[in-house]
């Protein structure tokens, strides 16, 4: 299960992947519930890698703007993830792509 601080940081990332949840609290709650169900059923190895990745991305984001990721504006976060797409460490790029996929799956697999 995500701690509160990890949840806040993750949602700051998820809002960039799916802009709709940045503007709609009810949608964001429904999305995060679905995401948690996906996340909790992953094998231990994958879920700890995802937790670690969120922490690493938050630290990198901090050094990019000298501001916590959740305090950065949407525009600042968009710029940061544009940079991440071309980050010199391939594992970080691939990891972010994996997180993107899980986030998208969790959002678009919600039943109406």
């Amino acid at each position: 299960m995500f701690s509160d601080s990890l949840k806040t940081r993750y949602l700051a990332i998820a809002e960039i992947i799916i802009p709709d949840i940045a503007e709609n609290t009810a949608l964001q709650i429904a999305f995060f519930t679905n995401f948690t169900i996906f996340f909790d059923s992953l094998d231990k190895d994958s879920s700890s890698k995802i937790e670690l990745l969120i922490k690493v991305l938050s630290i990198l984001a901090f050094f990019y703007q000298f501001k916590q990721i959740e305090k950065q504006s949407i525009e600042q976060r968009i710029l940061f993830f544009d940079k991440i797409q071309h980050f010199p460490i391939a594992k970080i790029v691939a990891g972010f792509t994996g997180l993107r996929s899980l986030t998208l799956m969790s959002f678009y697999s919600m039943q109406d």
Binding site: A94, R100, T103, L104, M105, S109
Partner: protein, 508 residues
């Protein structure tokens, strides 16, 4: 650890395409006293347990359908359930191309693949599981538009053959069929085998094997599946013959976990894996189209197979899978996803060579790890295939699309005459747009020489006297087409060889 009293003649590990075919072939001898047990690591989900919900049904798959290579360039989907991946496959039915059969005979010594054996076996298989071309009433807009557009471009489009019966045309197949229309092992071979006395234990994960012993754990039955019949716990059981049919990821891993007990030292175990790498592309058509009806796949193009190294097939997937198949994220991605009802979809299947360094190994916990690098020629093929698919989309009347390898994120009709310069090798970055695979093959290569393969041409692991493999892992190289029929062909041969070698007295 409980030692099971029952001793079996044959234990089959895995109930998918390979394992189910072996069980079906052996069931005639059960009446004559042969004792056969299937151990399946996945749960027993019947048609009433499938609900077409992407989140719920993702648990049918190993690691939720995303088993990634170490470099994360490709994600593999394989099912862990009774019926194996046949419970989630689309049922696209191909015989292997004649050139592949020829290569397997001449380069690997699979001489049993005579024209007569191949033809007769396929006729039997295709009759039993109802392989046929789809009637016009099953053709939805995505398929119709694909065919019209490709033909307008002068490309020959062929009809796929599918193995379904009483299909209710729900438009999707890959989360299990709610009406049991798919004629995979879950619906056909396994019920027949169980009826004739083959035993099945599900949620039974095999940890290791010896020459005549199997160690396994019966785990808790997950929600939305049949309850366990046997008690949960660790067991050991004996058998005269063991048949491994856990699939390409799991069979080599199980053998590596068991190397000590089997006294095996073959460095080719797990090697020469091919994945038939896939991109699924989507584009937005000018108006709403009906894809939730009919059958998702009806047509294919093989015209570019020999020269450029790929097939194109029609396809259509659920929203969650589609969203991850469309590259990128953010506002434009969201806008495109809002037009899901207007989407067309094409699957690119590229042919990959079998290479020594591409392999399944195990980590410290004994779990399968995929080490796989995309061949540079495959990357070139993919670029050609993306350009071709994008051309077909525009020719069909699509207005916009996001595809891998493009310099411009959103391609619109105005870009249709400069696809060649926009979609390039240097822009195809697998960390950003990973491939997927549902057709892994190899890893336990069949070869007539002990020094060049892992199993002999009867399917027996070189260096053992009674451990066989009968799944996609025995393929010496890629079939280049959707592989389930070829797996059934080889599994049929291997079952017959097992009977001839070990239970001759039961063959009348």
């Amino acid at each position: 650890m409980t030692f099971m009293q029952n001793q079996y003649d044959i234990i089959i590990i895995g109930s998918g395409v390979g394992g189910g075919t072996v069980a079906d072939e052996l069931r005639q001898y059960v009446k004559k006293g042969l004792k056969v047990l299937i151990l399946e690591g996945g749960a027993y989900r019947k048609k009433e347990h499938f609900n077409q919900n992407e989140r719920d049904m993702s648990s049918i798959f190993f690691n939720k359908g995303a088993f990634f290579s170490k470099n994360m360039h490709i994600g593999l989907a394989a099912a862990k359930t009774v019926g194996g991946s046949s419970a989630v496959y689309t049922g696209v039915s191909f015989r292997p191309p004649a050139s592949v059969v020829q290569k397997w005979k001449t380069e690997f010594g699979l001489d049993f693949l005579t024209d007569e054996f191949v033809e007769n076996t396929f006729l039997d298989i295709e009759k039993k599981i109802n392989v046929h071309e789809l009637p016009d009433s099953f053709i939805n807009d995505n398929n119709r538009l694909f065919k019209q557009a490709a033909e307008k471009l002068g490309i020959t489009v062929k009809n796929l053959k599918i193995n379904i019966k009483n299909c209710q045309q729900q438009g999707f197949c890959n989360l299990g069929c709610t009406v049991g229309a798919k004629q995979g092992t879950l619906e056909v071979q396994l019920p027949d085998a169980i009826n004739d006395g083959v035993e099945l234990i599900y949620n039974a994960w095999v940890e290791s094997i010896g020459e005549n012993t199997v160690k396994f754990d019966i785990r808790e039955a997950p929600e939305m599946s049949e309850p366990n019949v046997e008690k949960e716990g660790s067991y050991e059981i004996g058998a005269k013959v063991i048949v491994l049919a856990g699939g390409v990821m799991q069979t080599p891993a199980l053998v590596q976990r068991s190397e000590h007990k089997l006294k095996l030292k073959n460095k080719l175990v797990g090697r020469y894996v091919t994945l038939h790498p896939v991109f699924n592309l989507n584009a937005v058509y000018q108006k709403t189209i009906t894809n939730y009806e009919g059958f998702p796949k009806a047509y294919y193009i093989d015209e570019f197979s020999d020269g450029e190294g790929y097939y194109l097939e029609t396809s259509f997937y659920y929203p969650g899978i589609t969203s991850k198949n469309i590259p990128g994220y953010g506002k434009i991605h969201s806008e495109i996803m809002k037009k899901y009802d207007q989407m067309m979809s094409i699957l690119i299947l590229s042919h990959d060579p079998s290479e020594y360094h591409n392999r399944i190994l195990i980590d410290k916990k004994g779990q399968a790890v995929l080490d796989y690098a995309i061949h540079p020629e495959v990357k070139k093929s993919l670029i050609k295939a993306i350009r071709k698919a994008a051309t077909i989309f525009f020719s069909a009347g699509c207005t916009e699309m996001i595809v891998p390898g493009s310099q411009k994120y959103l391609l619109t009709k105005m870009d249709s005459d400069r696809l060649y310069s926009l979609i390039t090798n240097s822009k195809l970055i697998f960390e950003q747009t990973p491939l997927s695979s549902a057709h892994p093959q190899g890893g336990m290569r069949m070869h007539k020489d002990a020094a060049s393969g892992v199993v002999d041409t009867n399917g027996k692991i070189w260096g053992t006297s009674s451990v066989y493999v009968a799944d996609a892992s025995v393929f010496p190289s890629s079939t280049k087409v959707n592989p389930y029929e070829t797996i059934m062909l080889l599994a049929t041969h291997i079952s017959r060889q097992i009977m001839k070698t070990h239970f001759q007295s039961l063959i009348s």
